[in-house]
Symmetry: C2
Subunit: 292 residues, 2 copies
C-alpha cells in the first residue's frame, strides 16, 4: 500500500505542478503561497482514491489525473481556509507552517480561493474526458464542496458545534458533509470516468461513504493518540477546541470498536462486484490501521 | 437605462433565489450570510452585461440567466472576501453591514467559498446550454476569477501595491485583473451563448475590456467625489488605504479626461457590427455618467 501511495503522490504532484502557475509568475507571493500548501507532502488520500476506483473499473490513469489533482486542490484550499485564525486557528499543517503563518492571512485566503477555481478549470479543460463526463464531475464535486450537504456546510456546522454537547446524529451530519462528501465524490469520480455500471457506482458509493466515516473516526483517534510531530499538525486540538468527535461521544475504546465495525461494512459493500477489488480493500485496511 | 437595470435586477434576483439554499435550510447561519450579501441590492452590473451582450447577438434570456447569476455569485464572493479585516477591512457594503460584521469572519469566509462553488455548479447544471458551451464558459470564467490574469491575482497585487508609488502599468495590470477580467468574461459569456461570430466576439471583447477600464476609473473617482451614503460603501477608502488608483496617478481632472477618451474607444469598438447596438452603447454611457 505504501508503494501505491508513493506512486500516486508522484504522478499527482507532477499533474498539480502542471496545473498551477510557477512560483516566479506574478503575483509571485500568491503562487508561492499556493505551492507552499499544495506541495507540503500531504497523504494525497483523495487523489489516491480517484485512481484506485478508476483503475478498479478499468479507466486508464491518463483520464483520471486531472480530476484527481482537482480534488486535491479543493481539499488543500479547504485546509488553508480551515486553518485561518477565525476558523480553527492552526499554526502547523502537513509538517510545516500553515499558509497564513508563513505568508499572511490575506494571501492565505486568496491562495485558497485560487485553488478552488483552479480545480474547476482543470476539469473543464480536461480533453481526455467527454464533455458530459466533465460536467457531471464538476456538478458532483461542486455539491460535495459546497452547501447544504458538502464540505463548506460541514465546516460551518463543525464551528457551530464547538463547546456544545451534540448528539451522535449531529456528529455524523458534520462529518458526512465536512469530510465524507469529498471522499465520496473522489471514489464516484473515478468510477464515473471509468464508465462503471450503475450497480457498480452504487456499490462504490456505499464503500466510499463508509470509508469517509472510517477516515474521520481514525482522524479523531489520531488527534488523541498521536504526537504533533507524527501528525504534521497540532495534536490534541479537538479536545482543546471542544470539537464534536467520535471518541468524544463514544470514548477512545468505543470509537475503536466503531472503526472496526465500519471497516467490516466497507469490505462487505464490495462483495458482489466482479472486479479485482484488491486495491480498494487495501485502502480500507490502510485507513483503519493508519498511524498519521 | 434605469428600466433595463431594474428589469435585470428582478430577473437575476429571481434566478439567484433559485440557485442558493433557503435561509431556513441547515446550516441556517451560513445560508443567511450568503443571502445577506447576495441580496443586498447591488447594481447587478455584470449580469446586466451578460444579458446586454447576449440579447445583442440574439440569445433568449432563458439561456443567459444561469450564467448571469453565476457571475454575480463570483462577484459577490469576491466582495465578501475583499471586505475581510485582513484584506480591505470594510464595515459597509451595498448600504449594509459587511458579511463578517453582520455574522462573523469564519461565516463570511465560508459564505464566499460557497458562493464561488455555487457559480460553477449553476453553469455545469444549466441544461439550456450545450455541454460544449457550458464548459467553455466555466473555463473562461475560472480564468477570469483566478490567477495569474484574473480577479484573485488582481486583489493580491492591489494589496501589495498599498502605500507604494506604482507605475501606471502596474495600476493597469491590477485593475485589468481585479475588475476587468470578470467584466470581460461577462460580455464574452453573453456573446458565446448567443453563438456570435468570431469577429463579433472580438469586437465585444474590445468593447468590454475598455468598459472594465472605464468602470474602474469611475469607481476610483466616485470613491473621492461621493459620500458613503450614496455609495453604500465607505467613501474615501482608497486614499486612506493608499490604494493604487487612476485619480491617484493622473489627478481627478486627468482621470476624468481619461474616462472620456476610454468611453470614445468603447463606442468606436462597436462601429463595424451589424447589430442593434443601442443597449451596449447605453451601458457605456451609464458607466461614464454613473453617480454611485
Amino acid at each position: 500500500m505504501k508503494e501505491f501511495f508513493e506512486e500516486c503522490r508522484q504522478i499527482i504532484d507532477r499533474q498539480l505542478d502542471k496545473l498551477v502557475p510557477a512560483a516566479d509568475v506574478e503575483p509571485t507571493r500568491l503562487h508561492e503561497a499556493i505551492r507552499w500548501s499544495l506541495f507540503a507532502g500531504g497523504k494525497r488520500f483523495r487523489p489516491a482514491l480517484v485512481l484506485a476506483a478508476g483503475r478498479t473499473f478499468g479507466a486508464p490513469d491518463t483520464k483520471l489525473l486531472c480530476t484527481a489533482a482537482a480534488i486535491e486542490m479543493i481539499h488543500t484550499y479547504s485546509l488553508i481556509h480551515d486553518d485561518l485564525p477565525s476558523m480553527d486557528d492552526d499554526d502547523m499543517r502537513r509538517g510545516r507552517l500553515t499558509c497564513h503563518k508563513k505568508f499572511n492571512e490575506a494571501t492565505a485566503i486568496l491562495a485558497g480561493d485560487a485553488l478552488q477555481v483552479f480545480a474547476f478549470k482543470a476539469i473543464s479543460d480536461d480533453i481526455s474526458l467527454t464533455a458530459e463526463t466533465r460536467l457531471r464531475i464538476i456538478s458532483e464535486l461542486a455539491a460535495a464542496a459546497g452547501t447544504p450537504e458538502g464540505m463548506v456546510a460541514g465546516q460551518q456546522l463543525d464551528l457551530e458545534a464547538e463547546g456544545k454537547n451534540v448528539s451522535i446524529e449531529t456528529i455524523e451530519r458534520i462529518h458526512r458533509s465536512k469530510t465524507g462528501a469529498l471522499i465520496l465524490a473522489s471514489a464516484r469520480a473515478g468510477a464515473i470516468i471509468a464508465e462503471a455500471e450503475e450497480a457498480e457506482l452504487r456499490a462504490v458509493s456505499a464503500y466510499a461513504a463508509n470509508l469517509g466515516l472510517l477516515f474521520q473516526i481514525t482522524d479523531d483517534l489520531l488527534d488523541i493518540t498521536q504526537t504533533t510531530d507524527v501528525l504534521g499538525k497540532t495534536a490534541g486540538k479537538d479536545a482543546t477546541a471542544e470539537k464534536a468527535t467520535y471518541p468524544g461521544f463514544y470514548g477512545v475504546e468505543g470509537a475503536k470498536d466503531l472503526a472496526g465495525k465500519v471497516h467490516a461494512e466497507i469490505v462487505g459493500s464490495l462483495e458482489n462486484l466482479d472486479r479485482d477489488l484488491e486495491i480498494l480493500r487495501q485502502l480500507a485496511d490502510f485507513i483503519l490501521l493508519r498511524e498519521s
